[in-house]
Symmetry: C2
Subunit: 624 residues, 2 copies
């Protein structure tokens, strides 16, 4: 049986050696408990998405402001402060969610619990789009960090990004604990690098009074015509900066991956993360202002800051590499969360069930692969350009924020737990703030790409509902209620089309007769001469089994046979099943199969959608 552990593993590792090399040995279900993360590792895995957004959020604000005039760039500071306030609001709001949903309180689950299935699906769709964009944006931005340092790689950014997605997919198919071990170091390297940069920059600014100014080689202007500083324009820049908040919800969705007590650990990790994020975002925006950074075709704003403060030396290179690495980690967050969300939705029958299958490395392999493919396609379409992808990004995020927090408000009002008024107020402020921000983003960035997400979300919801309907219908049709007892069928009626009389046919005949005493062989006669030969041979070898010969003046094999079967169909009792036994060669080499006619296959195809038929191939294995 090979069910003892070591025997089974040996057997498998022989047959799947490449797979094992890439993915590691299979893990038993019982090992699942060990795959839990410490706070430090969890910060590495779940915070990287949020923290890494400082690599593009400031730049995106400047990107919008630069379209107006060089003076507009000064607006980046007040805008960043507004975003920092929003960050704190959302952070505290989510802190409450974590404690209310220690099993994992992603927007989908919170909305399902409190707002009903349709809002849950809207949240689910938003999150799925969000996760896919997290991968595409983070990898593109990570590649941009590298191409800022090594500009000769710029033309290859899309292909580099796609290959990177592939590698991350593979790492995730190996399982989450190992990826946490691999990825812990770079997160802390990035945090250390950013804090050093900001600390050094601010101290120098404070003491020297000014910062070295950066020289930009290829400054860009956005695709809009130059315009005055209007409210709409400021809001657009604000929307662009809101990409800093992406990923802040990751922890609340991944609580079960924390070591117990999971909720406490997750809550603390969340607040730590928000603090670090706020400091880094404000610091970088300040420094960008200080050195006179401007968005450029070939160099990120972060690279400009590093270059202005550290020169092109090893410190600068270290910052660029750390930035690229944390962006890889950010993409990795999505590879934890997307499959987990898909698992929840598949459990509720809104996504294909296969999304809920744990692979043999205890990860949801199908979700991981699906995400990898989707993100690669997105990168390919947008040619690995961050500015193209970012307008799509924050829309879905803020929909899920809003639904999650309004769902929490509803929950407090419903359960009225101790202190519910204060809790409800915090979530209400969070929910209203993110709702307003969503409306701002959707309206000011609509034409830049937000429309795509606004259109996709209802489409996704429809697909989810359709899948749900299918599973419901199947469940009804398969239900055993009112089934009664098992119907005792009499012997099946067996029809066996033959193309001649030889060993293969006689083997099939032997099998057919073991199934039922009611066997009829059928031969389609395309030439009278051949027909006579078959009849003669059947008399000698057919052992008394009935043979029907169907003339075929037009030399078709299939149509006379189907006509004959229709005739039998007309005679049968309801519930009777017609069993068609097809003698079939299995050649020793695949190409040899091309040397034989494919009639058996055509017959099977023709009967595929006819009810009341069962088609049995009886293979005759030809020797080498």
């Amino acid at each position: 049986m090979g069910l003892n552990k070591s025997g089974s593993i040996n057997r498998r590792s022989r047959s799947f050696s490449l797979r094992r090399l890439l993915l590691g040995d299979p893990l038993a279900s019982a090992q699942i408990i060990h795959e839990k993360l410490t706070k430090a590792k969890a910060l590495a895995v779940f915070s990287s998405d949020a923290l890494s957004s400082v690599a593009y959020a400031t730049e995106e604000i400047l990107f919008v402001l630069a379209a107006s005039s060089i003076y507009a760039l000064n607006l980046s500071i007040p805008i960043a402060l507004a975003i920092a306030v929003l960050l704190l609001i959302v952070g505290f709001s989510y802190h409450q969610t974590i404690h209310a949903y220690p099993e994992g309180g992603g927007a989908y689950i919170v909305a399902k619990d409190n707002l009903g299935p349709v809002f849950a699906l809207v949240a689910g769709a938003s999150l799925q789009i969000d996760y896919t964009l997290t991968v595409a944006v983070s990898i593109s931005a990570g590649v941009a960090a590298i191409t800022s340092w090594l500009p000769f790689l710029l033309p290859y950014r899309a292909i580099i990004a796609v290959i990177t997605v592939l590698l991350i997919t593979l790492i995730n198919l190996r399982g989450v604990r190992e990826s946490a071990s691999i990825f812990s170091v770079p997160t802390y390297l990035f945090i250390a690098g950013m804090l050093s940069l900001i600390g050094y920059g601010l101290i120098r600014w404070l003491f020297v009074g000014e910062l070295p100014q950066v020289h930009i080689t290829q400054p860009i202007h956005a695709d809009l015509t130059v315009q005055g500083i209007t409210i709409f324009f400021v809001l657009r820049a604000f929307s662009a900066g809101c990409t800093a908040l992406t990923g802040i919800e990751a922890i609340s969705d991944g609580i079960p991956a924390f070591r117990p007590p999971a909720a406490d650990n997750a809550g603390k990790t969340l607040l730590t993360m928000v603090a670090i994020l706020t400091i880094m975002f404000l610091g970088i925006t300040l420094l960008a202002h200080g050195i006179g950074a401007a968005p450029s075709q070939s160099e990120t704003v972060l690279s400009q800051i590093g270059r202005a403060l550290f020169g092109r030396g090893p410190l600068y290179v270290a910052v660029q590499i750390a930035t690229a690495l944390i962006l890889l980690l950010a993409a990795n967050t999505a590879f934890s969360d997307f499959p987990r969300l898909s698992f929840f939705m598949a459990r509720d029958s809104y996504m294909p069930r296969q999304m809920g299958n744990l692979g043999d490395r205890l990860v949801y392999s199908n979700g991981i692969i699906f995400l990898g493919v989707l993100a690669s396609i997105l990168i390919f379409i947008f040619n690995g350009e961050t500015h193209g992808l970012l307008p799509l990004y924050a829309v879905g995020v803020f929909i899920s924020f809003t639904l999650s927090q309004l769902g929490m408000v509803r929950r407090w009002l419903r359960l009225r737990l101790p202190g519910w008024r204060g809790h409800a107020l915090i979530n209400a402020i969070g929910g209203l703030a993110t709702l307003v921000v969503f409306l701002i983003i959707a309206s000011t960035r609509f034409l830049s790409g937000a429309w795509i997400v606004v259109m996709l979300i209802p489409l996704f919801v429809l697909v989810f509902l359709r899948i749900h309907l299918h599973y419901q219908q199947v469940a009804t049709q398969l239900s055993l209620e009112r089934y009664g007892t098992l119907h005792r069928m009499r012997h099946p009626r067996v029809i066996m089309p033959i193309g001649g009389v030889h060993r293969g046919v006689l083997k099939a005949l032997e099998f057919a007769r073991s199934l039922s005493p009611d066997v009829t062989a059928v031969y389609v006669e395309t030439s009278e001469e051949e027909g006579k030969k078959v009849r003669r041979k059947w008399e000698r070898w057919g052992d008394g089994v009935r043979l029907v010969i169907l003339p075929s003046p037009y030399r078709s094999i299939i149509s006379p046979l189907l006509d004959f079967l229709s005739q039998i169909e007309a005679q049968r009792q309801p519930h009777d099943i017609i069993t068609v036994v097809l003698p079939q060669f299995v050649t020793a080499r695949w190409w040899e199969n091309l040397l034989h006619n494919q009639d058996a296959w055509l017959i099977r195809l023709a009967l595929l959608f006819r009810r009341g038929y069962i088609v049995i191939d009886v293979p005759y294995h030809l020797a080498d």
Copy 2:
């Protein structure tokens, strides 16, 4: 039963209406006798290949000569005369073949009869390559006739050529008699056009003393460096001109398509054809010389002659169109001969049997489709350029000429029929002449492309022999000699893997029990909880059938099942068959199938090459 003729046709025409529209109604086998050709129609179908070669043979001679110097062009006249002599020799030699093989005496059959199977296969391979090239060359040259007239079409020649091949393929799938009716007119139009052109030209030359000189816009030089007039060089030009002989064998291969007395009619048609061909080839070469024609990138030599003599008026256009049309017909010859040769070779088990199937329009549909595809690929590779294809062309032709005629010599020596000495001499002269020409072509055109054919022929022969071996092995293995009587098998052992307990599974169980009293259901348990549920439900619904539960700590469905089957395999008697019944959903819409796991399909795949298994899908049709 729908076996009465009209009923059957109605039934079919409903289901295959597009097919019927393109191909016509099916023809009954009994109608085959009517599909025979008169001499006049046969000339149209079978001579077009040979006659149309005047459209490129002269040009190809000039193409080679032009590489040397403008004076070398004068050599075209003696070279053409040598080729004319060769033409007459080969013509008389084949005339004897026709009378000796009234059933159709293609090189394959003559070689098989007299030289043995290996030479026959060499001839067969040569002919198949030759026919494929006939299509590619003729269509390319036909398109060149059109682009000479309408130069703006030049960039699209490859795509025009491929579409044309497609159309000819369709016409041939309709059947040969109708294509003869369609194509009779243009052959005679071409002959009339050419003879008028030549007659008018020669008379004018005779009386006026000189011809108008043509002005060439884009004369070309071949890809060789300019060289002196050496023997090798003259022989190369001669080889190029030998493409005039291509197609001369078509009649001997197609005698059964003639009205009786077939051999007489075919022989007369052959001699008529050789006479017309010789006159046209010599005439065109003379006129080309007279008007100072030279090969050009954008205009054929024939077009230059027409333009010089007729101007750009309607007569010129008529000649160009007639040329294009007869080249279409030439391609069509191959569509008669290639499938017929494939039929002969399939009958001898050297090609896949399907090549021998008469389609419902009484043509060998598979051969026709195969040729159409091959020729399209060739045209695509050579971008529809005649000069690229021609060096490959004559090699195979002359191999088949040689084998056919040497085979005839062997036949005369063997049978010693009245007058055998004279007959043998004629064939010997023919055979030796074509052997020498083959050697000249292969050596002087080797690097220009002849090497491809020289390499392909042995490869083809190996494939034919391998196919033959396979069919022989199959015949031995299927032979009923020493089979004894039918083995009476006891009830099969039925194993039914289940994924749960529901209506679909119970339906399959009902069927399984109708096959055998020995049924075992198998459930692979990936979670203990689910396992318990299945066990409980089975107790209620399983009607006493044994249920085996296989634990799967690594969550794989397939491996524990295969291990279990191996265990059963080890216990069984020799000749016992393990029957695996797989309950399977058939969803109402194809995409719904994606929502269910594909385990049944994976199990079937895993058992595909294991002997002693029969796998039965029991469909459960889900309602809409």
